[in-house]
């Protein structure tokens, strides 16, 4: 036990969490938690001690900005570093019944060493399975007033749905017909809620939907949180070097093996190509950062476990866009250097079996998967026609996840499909 330094401060409820309360580590009391105070600031907190004689628990509450909070959630900085760099934080003493005993200002070096969070106070990777519900939490800018510009919201919404599609593409051969539903939006600062329904189809061997659920969560977590960490490398090198990508590939192979569905021949390439597509979509989300919001958090809502609350998979800031742009440029330069950047367009139309998963009916541009035997090749697609594309087979393919046969010319880079051009 130690005596809290006695300081007075003016705004009594500033350190207290009034909304979006979330526990990250829980024992008998919350060990690590966060939420918003009445003024919209993010308050991060931890347990310090239990005073048995006077029957109270002591907690640290520290106000952090969106960027610091994002770095903490993305495991880039430790809790100790946050406290060391904070001019001050609060010691909140609460009686066992949760009523406030006392609040005092404190600095990191007022804390006796025994109570100072350790240098390795980084969030541990999640060990428990994920759920199929996701939250997009926008903070900063207009969102703090529970409103955003419709165009910004629409773009974030569509980009997120398309990013999830990347994960679905890698399990296309399994008996699922996954659909993403949007659920009512909630304030706080501004939230969009999504639910994925896997829609398992009849198959001889049951699919472990828990494994698929975890895989989708880990896939999204990698694209949001881990991929941008590796700032110096091209996207291709980042993906080839990553132990986490190897882990995702193992997860994916296990899902196929368990269901006795042949593993796609180029499962590694399939995974990496789709990760790139999802990263592009998250990059588009980060391009919306501005007037409406300054960060976009993506949280997963674990299901079926006791005492659970949303878990942030990662926070997308405007840096995401910059890092991805650099990575993609590096990749292009690498391809040129390796002399593999030779594009070739088919001279005649051929028939392709495709599923369009992202399509702009106004411009005729989108993205699709080509199916050839057990292989799936993600490509961009361009439909050239004078007719309206609203309500066309292309939008139907996207909305109903239908495979359609089209006649198109393929643009290839080396032997790799890059685009399909459909002249309708």
């Amino acid at each position: 036990m130690f005596d809290a330094p006695k300081h007075k401060f003016l705004i009594k409820d500033f350190p207290l969490i009034k909304g979006n309360y979330t526990e990250l580590i829980t024992e008998d009391v919350p060990i690590l938690f966060y939420g918003n105070n009445s003024y919209g600031n993010i308050i991060l907190g931890s347990a310090v001690l239990e005073n048995e004689e006077e029957s109270f628990f002591r907690f640290i509450h520290v106000a952090v900005d969106n960027s610091i909070f994002g770095k903490f959630i993305n495991q880039e900085i430790s809790y100790r570093t946050i406290l060391e760099n904070s001019e001050f934080f609060f010691l909140v003493d609460k009686f066992y019944d949760d009523s406030i005993k006392e609040i005092n200002l404190c600095t990191f070096y007022d804390l006796p060493e025994k109570y100072q969070p350790k240098p390795d106070s980084l969030l541990a990777p999640n060990v428990i399975g994920k759920g199929l519900d996701y939250e997009i939490v926008m903070k900063g800018g207009l969102s703090d007033f529970h409103q955003i510009l419709p165009k910004d919201g629409n773009e974030v919404q569509q980009s997120f749905i398309d990013a999830i599609q990347g994960a679905f593409n890698t399990i296309k051969n399994l008996a699922f017909k996954p659909i993403v539903y949007q659920r009512p939006a909630l304030t706080g600062s501004f939230k969009l809620n999504f639910h994925i329904q896997l829609n398992e189809q009849d198959s001889l061997f049951p699919i472990d939907s828990g494994a698929v659920t975890n895989y989708i969560g880990d896939y999204l977590s990698f694209v949001i949180k881990d991929l941008p960490k590796d700032k110096s490398k091209s996207l291709e090198i980042s993906l080839n070097d990553s132990e986490k990508v190897k882990g995702l590939e193992t997860q994916l192979s296990n899902i196929y093996t368990q269901t006795y569905v042949p593993i796609p021949v180029e499962i590694g390439s399939l995974l990496k190509e789709n990760i790139k597509l999802s990263a592009e979509r998250f990059k588009e989300m980060s391009e919306q950062i501005g007037e409406s919001f300054s960060t976009i958090g993506v949280a997963n809502l674990p299901s079926g476990l006791a005492n659970d609350s949303p878990q942030l998979l990662g926070v997308i800031s405007s840096e995401y866009k910059d890092i991805l742009t650099e990575k993609l440029t590096d990749e292009l330069l690498l391809e040129v250097a390796q002399n593999t950047f030779v594009e070739k367009l088919d001279s005649d139309d051929k028939e392709y079996n495709i599923n369009i998963f992202h399509f702009n009916a106004k411009t005729g541009s989108g993205e699709a998967n080509i199916f050839e035997g057990d292989n799936v090749y993600p490509v961009t697609v361009k439909v050239k026609t004078k007719q309206s594309l609203f309500g066309s087979v292309y939008t139907k393919s996207m909305h109903e996840q239908l495979r359609i046969n089209v006649k198109a010319r393929a643009l290839k880079v080396g032997e790799k499909y890059k685009s399909l051009i459909i002249q309708d």
């Binding site: 990250l24 580590i25 829980t26 024992e27 008998d28 009391v29 060990i31 690590l32 931890s46 347990a47 310090v48 001690l49 239990e50 048995e52 029957s55 809790y79 009686f95 066992y96 019944d97 949760d98 025994k114 109570y115 100072q116 969070p117 350790k118 390795d120 106070s121 980084l122 541990a124 999640n126 060990v127 428990i128 674990p302 476990l305 006791a306 005492n307 659970d308 878990q311």
Partner: protein, 142 residues
């Protein structure tokens, strides 16, 4: 074994419906000092921190004692070392024990940060004499 105290104030919840006796597993409870006391086995509810819990799962959880099963010792220590890094002064001792006959019942209640989490429901006559302590481990040196 009787569980009248457990269900007092939360009826008709039945906390022990899917719980079982377990006298073979080694469990851990995090405590303040390397010496177990009766107060270390007080539930959140007994401390007066029940809050506005609505459903029976939450009520039973507050009535139970948080312990963890030592299915994988190294992994469990890793879980507690992580929470220790944030709160090194909060319950820094792992107390390893087995439950004796008639101590109460346990139910697996994994949480996101601790998949080994178990709710222990004390029977009405429980005391720390119903435990066989095997080890105290200071997380600082673990």
């Amino acid at each position: 074994m009787e569980f009248k105290k457990l269900h007092n104030e939360i009826e008709p919840c039945d906390c022990i419906a899917s719980a079982a006796e377990d006298t073979t597993t080694i469990f851990v409870r995090k405590i303040n000092e390397p010496k177990i006391r009766e107060r270390d086995f007080r539930s959140v509810w007994e401390l007066g921190k029940a809050g506005n819990r609505i459903d029976c799962n939450a009520k039973c959880s507050a009535k139970g004692i948080s312990i963890s099963n030592v299915e994988d010792r190294n992994e469990l220590i890793k879980v507690f070392k992580n929470s220790f890094s944030f709160a090194p002064g909060f319950h820094p001792v792992m107390c390893f024990f087995k439950l004796n006959d008639g101590a109460g019942m346990v139910k697996s209640t994994p949480s996101r940060n601790n998949k080994y989490h178990v709710d222990f429901y004390k029977c009405d006559n429980f005391s720390i004499n119903n435990l066989t302590i095997s080890e105290y481990l200071q997380l600082e040196s673990a």
